[in-house]
Amino acid sequence: MEKRNFHITAETGIHARPATLLVQAASKYNADITLEYEGKSVNLKSIMGVMSLGVGANTDVTIAADGDDEKDAMEDVAKTMKEEGLSD
């Protein structure tokens, strides 16, 4: 299992386009991927789940990937986080 913490720096939190792109990135992999925020955990392949968390700016989230391609999945998700300016 791959696990990584991210500090959300984007002024608007996990927002608009980035949320869709994160879900799209996660959906490419077999691994189960979760996003945890304030004690709640959702499926990162579910746009509804990600949106229902309402992740705000300047908060911490944990992403976990579990499955045969977990390493690649985590790399891809982290890359999207960075490219979309969500986290450093």
Binding site: Q24, I47, G49, S52, G54
Partner: protein, 572 residues
Amino acid sequence: MPSRVLNGIAASDGVAIAESYRLVDPDLSFKKVKITDVNAQATRLSAALVASKKDLAQIKEHAIQTMGEDEAAAFDAHLTILSDPEMIRQIVKQIRDQRVSAEEALTVVTDSYVKLFENMQDNLYMRERSTDIRDVTKRVLAHLLGVELPNPALIDHQVIVVAHDLTPSDTAQLDRHFVKGFITDVGGRTSHSAIMSRTLEIPAVVGTKRATELISDGQPLILDGLHGRAILQPTTEERQQYHDLATTYKTQKIEWQKLQNKPSLTKDGVHHILAANIGTPEDLAAVTENGAEGIGLFRSEFLYMNAQDWPTEDDQFAAYKKVVQGMPDKPVVVRTMDIGGDKGLPYLKLPKEMNPFMGYRAIRISLNRTDIFRTQLRALLRASHFGQLGIMFPMIATLAEFRSAKKIYQEERQALIDSGTPVGDPQLGIMVEVPAAAILADQFAKEVDFMSIGTNDLIGYSMAADRTNERVSYLYQPYNPAILRLIKHVIDACHHEGKLAAMCGEMAGDQIAVPILVGMGLDEFSMSATSILKTRSLFHRLDSTRMATLADKAIHASTNDEVIQLVDDFVF
């Protein structure tokens, strides 16, 4: 016999004769039933999801071709919702646990999401997404019910689109080759459907109130965008008459097209600048095709209205730079944020006001929310390095407001220079739309670099009449000598101080007003790109000395109608 003539607002020039195409949602209601075969319902759901995804992929493909990748990205959000594993699991669970139809389960689950997101008060994005969920649900539901959602992407013959209103996602699906015009129930000259039709150069009549009620699908229709009228079930004579009108209009357009690169001179060789009003960088193509000599009004609102949150400095900079670079060696005037009045922002929560047009709007917001204002000014200053940029403040009522805005501007400019960022030296002007500013134009002229008269609001405020209110719309009198005197006062005040006098309201392209404005010596006329060549052609017929006499007579006339008569005598 019911009336066959439908009147509305002429939103875009041209004449079209074609069949109607109703872009109206079908009945999506269903009966709640207890089901026995849960697997059959789950299968129906999967099939409907697959069919919906196919629709959306097709629409997205179409949008990429017609509008570009960025616009099409909106449909990615829809596709992600359709593929949401959690949502689908919940719908199937609902079918199994509650023994309800796929229709009902879908509605229950998506409604719960819509409610959840709409209640997230502090998060605009979520609230916007509830609209996406509704759109997507509608499509899946239509497939489940076996009814057809209008799929304008599939239109394969010439049509006039009939709709209550058109949203950007509706127009994204339209094939420009087949859509010959728009007619809508609601909207005005600045609504999305109106602006879109002018960009596409097809006729549009908006605000007819009853188009969707009176026009059925596939009905023969004449659309007269020149006069804001539609004729249902036209007779042979009417067809002939409008066919002739369409031909005349086409011939005239070809004649006007020859003036694309000609100077904007009057018969006696006096030059006036003919500029264009634009709403987005995408409008640049039409600006060039119509031979504009500059951009007299770039409404920056689109940056704010098409966004889910305050646009960043970089996003704004990119848009401004694109426009400035698209107009090499030509002036581009950007109006700072003009939000408020009838233009709200979901992420700027404004309290409901009794009189929004007289309330918290435009520069009044900018001077209060200086954080937002400074971001916009920095983006503008950075873009000013790449061309001839002017900045215009909307709704200025007092000199104090202009001075405050200018002070903030100067602070931001200095800060950028200090940080080594290249900036230009933009001209600073005001939009004259508050009567108080027009009356005090002589004082303003000493401090501003230019003034641009926004006639739509200036007339509304001067006559104390809202022109969208039918009962008082007779008071929208652009040629009323009271209005003409205000305009003349502003032009004279500018010239006295050697400043440029411009106009960027509807009136600048109005064929009755233009001769008077030429007579008053207005320096710059800024209008919809599609009106430019028509106006240039009119210029060629006007003698400025004679028009000065006309202008003098007009301001001494006593009524709007008298002025129209005068112009008729002098020009036509």
